[in-house]
Symmetry: D4
Subunit: 221 residues, 8 copies
C-alpha cells in the first residue's frame, strides 16, 4: 500500500518506506513495571487525584503486574526519612517484586541497583508510575529515554501537588518521547486479544473497574 | 512567493521548497469513517462528556457519513460479552455500513477483516471515533499511522473515563502525527464550499447543531 | 447562661429559653440506615461522583452500619427491571439487613413494608442514602420529615446525573429540614468519644479512608 | 408515632401535631406546566447549560407534559421582537398547549391572560421553566408563591447567562418557598408507581435518557 | 382562590390569608442604588469574576441607575489610602450621584452621611453592590435589613477574593433576608413592561449585553 | 422610619417593631476564638483548599486573635494519636492561648474543660475554625448554637476532604443559624473603623494579604 | 558562545551553528491581521469564552491593528446567510480594512481574493483570529503554514463551541507549526520597546486592560 | 545495551548511537536564575494562580537560588512606571542578585545588560520565571533558545491573566524546545542526592512546602 517496503514488527503489515512514525507498542514479553516512591509520607502530598481513586489506580497497576507476571521493581527514596515506608498494601500485593531503597539518589536511574535490575531483566519497555510526577516519574523517564528505552508513563497511578504541576511535567515528558497513558490502556495494549484469557481478563476488570463490574455480573447471569 | 517551487496538491498554490509542513486535508473522495466499539456496555463507562451530548455527537458523525456518502465501518469488540451490542440507533442510521464483530482483538487493526475492508476501499484518510478513547481509538490510530494512513480523530464522538485519561491519550496520538478535531471540523473540511450544496448543508447543520437552527429558521423567514 | 431554663437532652447543658434552635444529633440507639435503590442499572447513571469513589463511599456507609450494629434496610425498585439487582457487594456486606423489593412505588415511603420496618424498629433518626439523589433520596426524605422523623442525608453515598441536579435536590431537602452530611460526619456523630473503642474505631478509619491509613500505620509503629 | 394526630393528605400516614413541615408533593391531577419565553432569540443567551443538553431537557419536559396529559401554557415575550418566536419544535410537540404572546409584560404573572388561563385550569401546582432563569422564571415564581400556589421550578429546563447568575436566582426562589428540581424528579413525583404504566413509562425514559436506554434494551432482550 | 382575602400590593391579585410569603418587588419609585467602595485599589483584589466582565457589570448597573433615573450614592472608604479613589469612569457615568467619602467606617451604614442620604431619599428598597462582597456589601446589607429596608444585592457587580469567600457571604446575606440577583434581573424587575419604553430599553440592552446586540441589529433590519 | 420603635443595639439606629431580623454583629469585647483540631495528622486530609493557602488562612486568623487580643482556645483531639500534635507554628503564634487536649470527645463542646473555658471568658460570640469542617467545626457549632451562643464559622481557616463534603456541612450549619464568613470579614467586623488604628491595621493587612501589600507600599511612598 | 557562527536576524546576537530552532518573531513591518468570520450569527455559537470578554478581546485586536497601522483583512462567509453580517463595531473600528465576503469557500485561503490581498501586501507574518476556532481559524492557518507563512493564532480573539473542541484545534495547529498567543502577547512582540511610544502605548493598555488602567491612573497622578 | 556507543554526559551510562533524544538536565554548576518583571504593578494582573500561593512559589524559587548559591538576575521593565518596583521581599531575599532595570525593552534578551550579565556568568542553563507568562517569560525564553541556551521555565513562579492565555504560552514555548517544570522539580534536579546535604535540604523543604513540614516534624521526633 502506498508503495510500502518495510514491515511492521508488531502487526506484520507492510509499512511505507517514507513513514517516519513507528508504533512502539507494549509487549508482555518486553515490559517491566517500575514503581517509584509510592511511600506513605510522599503519598500525603498528592492532590491532583482524589485519595480513594489514586490508591485504586496504584493497586490496579500492581494487580496488572501480577496478572501479566511482569518483572517488577519497587524503589523508594530513603524509607527511614520523612518520605516514609513504601505503602504496605503495595508490597503485600507484589511479593515477587524487587525492592530497592535508594540511600539518597532522587532520580531512580542514578541508583546503580535500579539500573542493574532493569538491565538484568533484559526488558526494553518500561512501564513507570510514581509520586511525585514531575520528579520521581519525570526524572527517570527522561534518563530512560536517553538510554534508549521505550517509556510508558502511567499517568493515573502517578500523583503530585496540583494540575498545573502535572501538566508541565506531562509536556516535558511528551517532548522527550515518552508515551502517556493510563493503567487501563497499559492492560489492553499488553492483553491484545480477549481470547488469550477471556475469564481471567474479565475477572481482572471486575476487580479494578467498579463501573464495569455490573456489566459482567449482568452478562454472566 | 518566498522562492517557491513545489505546489500544494490541495490548493494549487505554490509551496516554498524548504517548507517541511504539508497540510493533510480531508477530501470526500479519500476519506472513510471507522466507528470503533460504540457498544451499549462500554458506553456506560463514558464520563468525560455528558451522555446526551455524547450521543448527539456520535449521531452527528453518523449523519455526516451518510450526508457525504463515505464508506463506513462499524466494528465491535465481542458483542456477545459484557461490552454489549453496537448502539442500535447507530446501526439504524448507517444501513450501508460494513459491520465487523471482532472475536477478541482489542486493537481493531489487529483484525484482518477490518484491515481488508479498509484496504479494499482504497481510502487513505481514516476518520476514527470510538469508546474508550485511550484504547479503542488510540490503538488503531497508532497502527494506522504506522501503516501510512492519514488519521483524523473525532474527539467529541470518542469518550472515556475522565479528562485525565483523555488528555494523556490525546498527547500520545498527537505525538504520533494524528490530527485531532471535532465532527464539525470534519464536516467543514470535507464540504469546503457552501455552494456545492447550500440547502442540504444548511439542513445538515439544523439537524445537528441546536444553537445554529434558530439562525437558519430566522434567515429563511 | 443568658437566663437559661431548658436543658439540652444531648449535652446536659442548659439551653436559653428563647432559643429556637435544637441540635438534632445522631445517637446510635436511635438511628437506622436506609439504603434506597443502590441497584446495578441505576448505578450506571451516577456521574456527579467518580465511580471508584462513589462505590467506596457506599461501602463505607455499609461498614459503618455494621460497626455500630444499626438496624438497616436495603430497598430496591423492581430488581427484575432495567433498574437491576441490588449491588451484590452491598448485600454481602450487610447480611443482617432487611431487604425490601418494592413492586412499583418510586417513593420508598409509599411502600407499606418499608414503613412497617421503620416503625417496628422504633428508631426516629433515619440515615438515608440512595440513587438518584433527587428522586430515590429526596422523596422518602421529604415524606419522613413530614412524618416527624429526623432525617440525615448521606450526600457522598448518594449519586445522580450531574451537579446541577444534585444542587437543586440539596436545596429542596435543606428547606424541608433535612440535615446534609457525609458518611464520615455520620460516623463521628454516632461515635462521640474515641475512648469507647479506640482500636476498633481506628481500624474502621483505616479500612475506609486511604489518606488516614498512613497516619495510623505511622503512629502504631 | 410520636403522638401524632394529623394525617398526611398524600400518604395517609399520621403526622405529628407539632410538625411544621408539610410535604407539598406533585400530583398529576393538580399540576400545570408553564413554559416561559423559550424563544429563539433569548435561547441564544443561555450559557449555563450546553445547547444540546439544554434543548434535550426542554423537550423532555414537553414530552412529560404530553405523557401525563397536563394542562400546559406556552407564553412568550413579544415574539415579534429581538426575543424571537417560540422554539418551533416546542410548539410542534405541544399541539394542545395554550399559547399566550405577552405584548410587553416581563413577569408572565402580570399578564391577565396568563393569570386567567391558570385560574381557569383549577390547578394549584405550577411546574415552571423558562429563559432566563433569574427573570422569566424567578419573577412569576415569586408572584405565584405570593398568590398561594405551590411552585416547582424545573432547573434543567431553565437557562441563563452563567452559573453565578443562576445560583443567585436559585437562592432567591428557595428563600421564597419554591421547590427546585429537575424534569426527572418531576416525572417520578407525578408517576409515583411504575405499575400504573410500566411499558409506557419505560418508553418515556428511553426517549429522554440516553444513559437509561441501553438498560431497557438489555432488559427487554 | 384558595379562600383569599388579602390583596397583593404589587399585582392587585388576591393573596390567600394564610400565606406567609410576600413578594418584595423592585419598584422604580421606591429604589435607590448604593455603590460601596468601587475603588481602584480594592478593585485589584477582585478575583471571583474576570476583570473585563466585572467592569462591564459595574458599568451596566451604573447605566441602569441613569436609565431609570434612580437616586444613587457612591461611597468610598478613605480614598486617600491604599484603597484608592473611586473608579473615575463610574463617577463620570453618574454625574448626579451623591459621593460620600467615609473617613474610617468600614460598614457604610455606620457613617451618618450615608444614613442621612438614604433616609432623605425616602426610598425603602436598596439596590447594593460593592467590593469586597463579604465586607463592603454584606455589612451594610445586614444593617439595612435590620433597619427594615428591603435589600437587593447585585451579585455580579460585587466582587471579592474567590468563590469560597463569596459563597459564604451569599449564605450569610440570604439567611438575613437579602434578595440576591444580577443587574439584568434588577433592570427587568424595575422595567416591568417593555411598552413603557420599547426603543430605549432595547438600546439599554444593546449597550450592555453583547450577546443581545446582534438580535436587536438583526430585528431592526 | 416605617413606624420604628426598637433601637439597634449596635448602630443606635431605630429598628421597625415588626422586623424579625436582628444583625448579630461581631464585637471585639464579646468575641472569643476557638481553634479546633488544627493537628498535623488531620491537616494532611485537607484537600478543599490548597495547602499553602490554607496554612496562610489559619495563621491569619491567629494573627487576628493576637491583633485584637481576643481570648483564644486551642483544642485538639488526642494529640498522642494518629491525629498528631497541634501545628507548632500555631502554638508559637498564640502563646497566651489556652490549650486543651481532649482525651476522646469528638465534639469539642462535649469536653467540660472547653465548656468551662468558654463560660469563664464571659464571651457570647464564638469565632470557630477547625479541621475537618463537617465534624470538628460543625459539631461544636451546632452545640454552641443550641446553647445560645452566636457562632461565626471562619470558612477559609477550616478544611476538609473535598467540596461536596464542605458544601453539605455549610448548609447544615447555615440552617442552624451559624454565620459563615472568611477571616477577612471577621477582622473588618471587629475593627469597624480604620481610625481606631490606621497604621496597625494596615500592617495587619500587609502581613496577611499579599495582593494588598503592594497597594500599601505604593501609598506610603 | 558555544561555537556560534550564524547570527539572529532579529537580535543581532550570534546563534550556534547546530541550533535548529529559530525564533520567528512578530515584526510590525512584516505582519498583517486577518479576521475570519466574526459574523453576528456565528458569534452566537461561541461558548468557550464569556461574551463580554470575547468581544473585548476581538475589539482589542482591532485596536491593535489600528495602533500599529497594520494591513488588515476582514473576511466573512456569506454574510447574506444564517452566518450573518460582520460585527458592525468591528467594521466601524477598522475603516481602512479590506473586506472580502466569500461566496462559499469555508477555508478563507481557498478564496482567491483573500490570497491576492495577502500576497499583494507583501507580508509574511499572518496574525489570525476567527470564529469558530477549529474551522475558520484552523483551516486557513494550516493552509498558510503550508504556503510558507509564519502564522500567529490569537487564541483569545477566536471562539468556539467549548473547551474540548478548542483544545483539539490548538493541538492540531501546534503540530503544524502555528504559534499560539493572546492579543496582549501580539502587541508586546510588535511594540518591543516602550520608548518608541510611551504615552501612546500606555493609552492603548488603558483602553483595553481594565486591570491595568488603575495602575496608569495612579502612576500619572 | 541496544548496541550503544555514546555515553550520557550526565549519568555515565552508555546511550544508543541512534537515539536522538538527549536529556538536558539541570546542574548546579551550569545554572543561572532569571527573574523577569516580578513588579508590584504587573503582579496585580496575575489571576491564573491564587495570590498567596503565587507569592509563596516566587519566594520558594528565590530561596532555592540562595540555597544552591546560583548566580541570579532580577530584571524589571521601567520600575518608575505603572509596572511598579520589583517586589521588595524578593530583593530582600536576594541581596547578591544583579538588578537590571530595563529602560524600555519588553523582551529582556533585547537588553544588552541582561545579555552581558548572562554571558559573563558563563552559565548555559537558564532557569526563568516572570510576569506575565506569555510576554515577560515567553519572549526571552524563545530568544534564549535561539541563542543556544537550555531553558527551564518555572511555571508556578510565573503568572498571567488566565488559564487560556497561559496554556497558549506553554504550547508556544514547548514547541521551541523549552522545558516546563515547577520550582520543586528544579530543586530536585539540582540537588540530585539527599546525601549531599540531608539536614539542609530537609529544612529547605520545611520552609517552602507546608504539606511536607509535618512529615519532617514527625520524623525528627
Amino acid at each position: 500500500m502506498f508503495g510500502t517496503k518495510k514491515q511492521s514488527e508488531e502487526t506484520n503489515h507492510p509499512i511505507p518506506e517514507s513513514n517516519a512514525y513507528q508504533y512502539k507498542r507494549l509487549n508482555k514479553d518486553e515490559a517491566l513495571v517500575l514503581f517509584v516512591d509510592h511511600q506513605a509520607g510522599i503519598l500525603s502530598l498528592v492532590r491532583d487525584i482524589e485519595p480513594v481513586e489514586f490508591k485504586a489506580n496504584v493497586m490496579a497497576l500492581a494487580d496488572l503486574a501480577v496478572y501479566f507476571d511482569l518483572p517488577t521493581i519497587l524503589t523508594a527514596s530513603i524509607q527511614k526519612s520523612p518520605n516514609g515506608p513504601i505503602m504496605p498494601e503495595l508490597k503485600d500485593k507484589l511479593p515477587k517484586a524487587k525492592i530497592i531503597d535508594r540511600p539518597g539518589e532522587i532520580n531512580a536511574w542514578d541508583n546503580e541497583d535500579v539500573v542493574k535490575a532493569v538491565e538484568k531483566s533484559g526488558r526494553k519497555q518500561i512501564i513507570i508510575a510514581g509520586i511525585v510526577t514531575e520528579v520521581c516519574v519525570a526524572f527517570p523517564t527522561l534518563s530512560l529515554l536517553e538510554a534508549g528505552y521505550e517509556v510508558f508513563v502511567v499517568v493515573d497511578a502517578s500523583g503530585t501537588f496540583n494540575e498545573l504541576t502535572r501538566n508541565a511535567a506531562w509536556l516535558r515528558m511528551q517532548n522527550a518521547g515518552a508515551q502517556l497513558l493510563n493503567w487501563f490502556a497499559v492492560a489492553n495494549e499488553l492483553r491484545r486479544d480477549w481470547r488469550e484469557d477471556m475469564p481471567g481478563y474479565m475477572e481482572f476488570f471486575k476487580r479494578n473497574i467498579p463501573a464495569y463490574k455490573p456489566l459482567v455480573d449482568s452478562f454472566l447471569k
